[in-house]
Symmetry: C2
Subunit: 292 residues, 2 copies
């Protein structure tokens, strides 16, 4: 099977890929999330692995927005990976004063407290990924510049870990989606799924008071447990949103179709984005999903 993922090598997405797909599969890194999703739509790849949500930073908006507005693929699996960030320098720069810090904006945000207390006022430059930051540092051994990136990047680019685990919050995780064109037969699981989920997109019927309350009623009286509700802009103007709703069960023949038919009859737009097994990276213990 051919799997595209958000590259470069050495990112957390690669850890997600390795949870489900061993190296008998073709694994190809892409430069951006849209490029990665396009590769499935145009048939170059069978599936794409992209980040959807981080426990600290929240949803990865470019993934949700591109999925909804541009390239509708089906969610066929979901993988949770633990996130640890480290402060990496070139061995030549170990004892020098660091003048600039490079990383992805999400990683910078995850290490906000560390940066404020240990490197106040030091220039921060955003890169397209944590691995790209590590690579830049490796390529410029004479510049007093550090990268915030993961252990895999430290090893790949032979950088020194000047400080370990500099992220502000423990329990940091990122959730990745496996996207495909229609149903995809996943390879034999390397780990067992801990639950199954169903994801829907709902647009509200019209500009009336209590519309979202009415939508949630359709789930609540059926005791369908929601694990997430996310509002995203329709991109038609401030105040216009659609909602992405995760339900903690597999799509059945009765309850989920019942919800969808009722919401449509009430004038909402409803689309099933996928019903799929959920996995943890092998380094994580099983825990239950929460409710909203």
């Amino acid at each position: 099977m051919k799997i595209g993922y958000l590259g470069p090598r050495g990112t957390f997405t690669e850890m997600a890929v390795q949870t489900l797909f061993d190296d008998k599969n073709v694994l190809k890194p892409y430069r951006t999330i849209p490029d990665c999703m396009d590769s499935v739509a145009n048939g170059d790849m069978d599936a794409a692995v992209v980040p959807v949500e981080n426990a600290i930073e929240g949803s990865v908006n470019v993934t949700l927005d591109y999925l909804i507005h541009k390239q509708r693929l089906e969610i066929v699996a979901d993988i949770v990976v633990p996130i640890s960030q480290h402060f990496l320098v070139h061995p030549n720069q170990r004892d020098n004063e660091i003048k600039k810090i490079l990383s992805h904006p999400h990683a910078v945000a995850q290490c906000h407290e560390f940066l404020r207390s240990s490197y106040p006022g030091v220039e921060i430059e955003y890169m397209t990924s944590t691995a790209a930051a590590a690579q830049w540092v490796a390529d410029h051994p004479n510049e007093p510049v550090a990268a915030i990136a993961n252990e895999q990047a430290a090893t790949s680019y032979q950088l020194d870990m000047l400080e370990k685990d500099i992220h502000d919050y423990d329990e940091n995780r990122t959730r990745f989606a496996v996207l495909a064109k229609g149903k995809l037969s996943l390879p034999p699981y390397q780990v067992e799924p801990y639950t199954k989920k169903t994801t829907m997109m709902v647009t509200l019927s019209s500009d009336f008071s209590g519309a979202l309350h009415q939508v949630l009623s359709a789930f609540a009286w059926r005791k369908l447990n929601l694990t997430k509700i996310e509002s995203r802009p329709m991109k038609t103007g401030l105040g216009n949103y659609f909602f992405i709703i995760d339900v903690d069960c597999e799509a059945d023949d009765v309850l989920i179709p019942g919800v969808m038919q009722e919401l449509e009859a009430l004038g909402c737009g409803v689309e099933l984005l996928g019903s799929y097994p959920c996995f943890f990276h092998t380094s994580l213990k099983l825990t239950e999903a929460s409710s909203v």
Copy 2:
């Protein structure tokens, strides 16, 4: 009055500031949103003006998260500003092939279609603001580098507008919050408010099915119109969220306290973040808020 805002000069935040505060006030740009909010908390400034939400990109997470988790200030006003992005180069580089494009990640995302069709594969580098991108281009007249920024930045830094209005969606707006320590007497309005809103933070009582539905019921049966509901991570683990709820009315003595008391009695955490007038930038016509 002393007003801190997300700088540098030439950003959309400065346009928001000028909507409410003329130059008889002291206006001071800050480098980051947290620095700007800290300046009010420590008494250096009377109020901070920071972005909260963009019509295309959604909420500005660093503002919401810093407000909730780190520096609790009161929302005392809300200002909506129109967003137009342009492709700026140094006059020396007008006829050269552009090798790199600089801008803030939000602005890059807002011009995604333009970049893919007109500059596919050209390197993109993220800057801390659109104005910082324009300044870099102005400071490097011999580099074939372009900035995505607004008209104010083009004028300030004397750059050529190679392409105008390159943003993917019209109707793009950003909403800014004015934050203060407790109630603040705003100066005499330069424009009249178009509505009043109340913002609350709600955490759910416990991990049970239908909790959010129950919260919305407290608003729905009182016919309190919600204009926005946003879920953000609690930062305690994937699946744990709090909700920011905007109600389309001023906090009264009966209905809003009624909602808050009931939700507390049900075991939710409820905090009033502010009840405040809402303004449009002078270039925008009045429109109504939508409901959710």
